[in-house]
Symmetry: C2
């Protein structure tokens, strides 16, 4: 068995039907300011992790899973290299995860795949060379 | 409008059908060690936040929402007082959230309510006097 992964959640992404409405809600309700936004998404730098809202159809396409099953949300665990993505996904599958998307390179760079835990909760396992992972596990958004 | 809430996620809780199976998966797959566990739940100290798995029927009962709608998961935002829970929930409702559970005191102490964002994603707004909130927003599990 590979060594343990850091106890770290890198990103929580909520799929949303109307990104403009969701951005308004998080601005007016929580008062949160995005660190980066586009028409269909926004990222917020949080306490050691990143929070994201993303058009739910695009999130579903990225996960290769229907938007509604079992909830349009993805947690992400980032690792330090492409090889570590493959190793983590192998380890998770051996422990009972289901493969949603075999790891490949997304349009924005890096490398990522998706698995579902035994209850269907989606985890993205990603290498994003732009996002630093501190020794504490803290993640900082960057382009 | 009240002042902004910290950009902070305190807790991510996944509802699970079989807590023993989920604990095994997170131990064997991710290699994560809980900071606290009972038969029906486990908490893991992460990078500035807490990750939880909880029997999905109990999570649904706590949220006052059916387990499957739209996914058995709750994000939590902790605040520093009981009054701040009420203020945050009022603010979120004014911004378009839907009330799931009006704030009250759970059996383990503190004070919490639940709202759903415009896409139905559940947020618990909680005051937990045992869990420190650092200036950075980092949350540390404690009993």
């Amino acid at each position: 068995m590979d060594k343990s992964l850091m106890q770290q959640i890198s990103l929580v992404t909520l799929g949303v039907a109307d990104p403009a409405r969701a951005k308004r809600f998080y601005a007016e309700g929580f008062g949160w300011a995005p660190v980066f936004e586009m028409d269909d998404l926004a990222f917020y730098q949080m306490n050691g992790l990143v929070f994201g809202i993303w058009d739910k159809a695009q999130l579903a396409e990225d996960m290769l899973r229907p938007a509604a099953a079992p909830g349009s949300i993805a947690l992400a665990h980032n690792v330090a290299s492409r090889e570590a993505v493959d190793a983590a996904i192998s380890r998770l599958l051996a422990a009972g995860a289901t493969l949603l998307r075999a790891a490949d390179a997304p349009p924005h760079g890096g490398y990522r795949g998706y698995v579902a835990d035994p209850d269907g909760h989606a985890w993205e396992i990603a290498w994003n060379p732009a996002w630093a992972i501190e020794e504490s596990g803290a993640i900082t958004f960057a382009l």
